[in-house]
Amino acid sequence: MANIATQRIKREFKEVVKSEEVARCAIRIDLVNDSWSELRGEIAGPPDTPYEGGVFALEILVPETYPFNPPKVRFLTKIWHPNISSVTGAICLDILKDQWAAAMTLRTVLLSLQALLAAAEPDDPQDAVVARQYKEYHNIFKTTAQHWTAIYAGGPNRIGEYETRVTRLVDMGVDELTARAVLSANNWDLERATETIFS
């Protein structure tokens, strides 16, 4: 990896480790290997959001051309969010794309993602299904996000009703992940979900 990139990542890693957000467990960063090109980040779900209580893992890939190009970040933990792909974890955030500035660091990126969880941008979606739900059935969106957080990120509110519907589909021989995803996409309408799966 280019010298400048390594230098910067090392400094930024230290910055995150020393930051007060780490001190209150809001963000965290770990090394994956010795090359400094791949890192593992974690952010806590912001309070007063459906993601509260969850901890979301992130994959951070530092390109050779860093800091001229932004790091590649995606969610490893599954998450129900308009700007994050519920399938791949890809993030739609301007600063990770064309609005990247060299002044940004790993810490600011993690904090930006945390902010993104708190304030979604449904008009500029990554996941159109989630975005539509966010706009049209906001309550369902909230409970769904809560449910996902509980299941995948260790959040407190498992929605029992949603759980039983997933179990129903699983009983029909459907993979649990698929079942949950399809149910979530169909606003937990069991019939339409079944239709979607089996049609």
Binding site: R8, Q99, A102
Partner: protein, 743 residues
Amino acid sequence: MMSRGEGGSYATARSMSFNLQDGPANALALSKDNSHVVVAGRNVFKILAIEEDCFVEKVNLRVGKNLNLNYSCNDVVWSILDENLIATGATNGAVVLWNLSKITRAKQEHVFADHQRTVHKVVFHPTDPFMLLSGSQDGTVKCFDLRVREAKLTFKSNSESVRDVQFLPKNNFSFTSVSENGSVQLWDVRKGGERPFLTFTAHSGPVFSCDWHPDLPNTLATGGRDRAIKVWTVTNVATLDHSIATVASVGRIKWRPSRKNHIGSTSLVVDASVCVWDVRRPFVPFAAFEKHKDVATGIIWKNSPHIFLSTSKDCTVWQHVFKDATRPASKAMPQALAVNVRRGEIAQAVTTYQSDSAAPPRFPIFNRKTASLDEQFHMARSLFFTFEAGRLLRDGFRVECAERYTLIGKSPQELCDINAKIALSLNMKSVALVWEITKLFLNTRITEPVPHIETTKVTVPTPNHVSQAPPKPKEDNEDHISDDDQNHSSSELESQDVLGEIASGLHMTQNLFMSAGPTYEFQINQEGPVLPAEAFQHRHEIREGSPPLHLEDCSPRDVDEAIETVAVENRTSYLKFKFVDPVPAFEFSESITKALQFHAKEGDVQTAVCVWLVLAPVVKLPIERRVLEAWCYAYIELLQRNRLYAQAAVVIKHCGVLGHLSQESTSYLICCGKCGKPLTQKAGNFCDKCRKAVARCGVCHMTVTGLMSWCQGCGHGGHIEHLRKWFSGHKECPVGCGHVCHS
């Protein structure tokens, strides 16, 4: 009581002095009829009679053995109305009244011990014989009634110290006081001592003296420590009419009687002369009296515009007569010339003369009098021109030379060659010549030419001769440069002339200047030396007091004498011999040094420094370090003035004597870009306040220690390489401020 002499008239009066012996005098006062003067100081208190051509001591008022401080006077005043009454202000704060009509030796009549501190000034009321004013260091003015023997009124000036008090002329109730805080206050005695009716600030420092014009109403002059005498018109407000700049703090001032614009002044320090100024000419005194050897402390006009008395710290009293005055203005040069080197401008001021008849009489009031010398005052008018040269030819050449000269990086010969060409291309032939000669010298030194004689009659000089004898032409050259006026034989003088021109670089042919390398031709009798005896004798006569003659030791006797014959007999050709390089190991550094010194002396420090720099690696020229430093400083300053910083840096680096300059003069102060706090040397690039490194690269976030580039628009920047790379892919600022730096 005292015999009374007549005050001298102007016609008979003359300058005279009296030595007080007892100590310096602080003040003096004249008696009512101007026949006596009282002089007072710390240790002196005497009354002198003013005779026709001398002072005669009449009374010494310091009597008794245990003198108390009451006798230590700061000021003295003689009553205008009562010729027996004298008042003094003492340094202990006492105002003492003396009555000369007392029969006892001690004439002290009464002591007013009202003031807390030194009394600076006492003054009698011009019309009321019983009223006395005193101004003191304690900041008050007190009004005494001599009948009741006590202070009647106290005026608090609201300042540290009152330095002078004067009644307004032709006004019985008002007086003015000046104080050390620079203000002038006007008081009305009738209104009591609470507030002055007018206060204004006259000087930017203590005011030491003031004087109302005796004839002009409302005209007040003040003199202060700010080295100015100011003339005010005081009505309801004070307006400044004139300001005279003096050379030192003004001690005392006194208007000249019967003259509208003349005022006498003494200095408190430095200047021992008593000056009389025309207020309209603010810088040059109208007349100066330079009799005193120390600063004058008191001045009083003897009821005549032509005679006045003064006392001084040099323990003398002088009577000055105007005809003995010096006129500084007449000595002043009315023309001036100044040169602006930087821009090549010349400013010139010249007087334009007006014929006296054409000049209208300025002051008709005095016109009836016969125009004595001191009346003739007319405004000198000057014209001011500036001349601008498009470019000072010589200076321009120097700058171009400085730019193009190569001083390092090549062998000295090459450098000489290059620089000679540069100088020649700029038509600076003399400088080019210096370079060429230097080069030739260098060549000589390195090639060590083998001497050979073409004529058989002449033997080759032996090596020990060589070592003994310095080469001839060089010596001539030296003599010439050092401008020694010695007696030379005709031939020497001739060669000196030529060499002189060479040294000054006017024109020159190489082989004349060179002692080594070029060929010298001497004509010697081919048949053999035939020496007239007179020649030998003659030579010795000439030699007296002159430097050793040429070639004496380095050639055989016969040749030597033959040459001398030639010299004496005006170059009659007898014999021709030719030799090349008579002195192989010629040490030229001294000649070069002389040449450089000559150039430096002529103001061409550039050539001196450059040649020396070029030679420095190979030859150590016997130049004093001090001289060298002076040259280098001068040249560096010239370069920097012409903004040739790179060239100046080269000189600093390679001159070897000013190495510290490159460390000293490049100090700079760095501040944090965020908070503006200056960075301490210790912390380097770390700002204590922001707890952050300053000057961080916007891309790599490291501190920029080398060249930093930043956007003029948003102020963000960093390493040039990083920014270049960033902007190859982005248009916006790398810091993310949103500024489109790269458009």
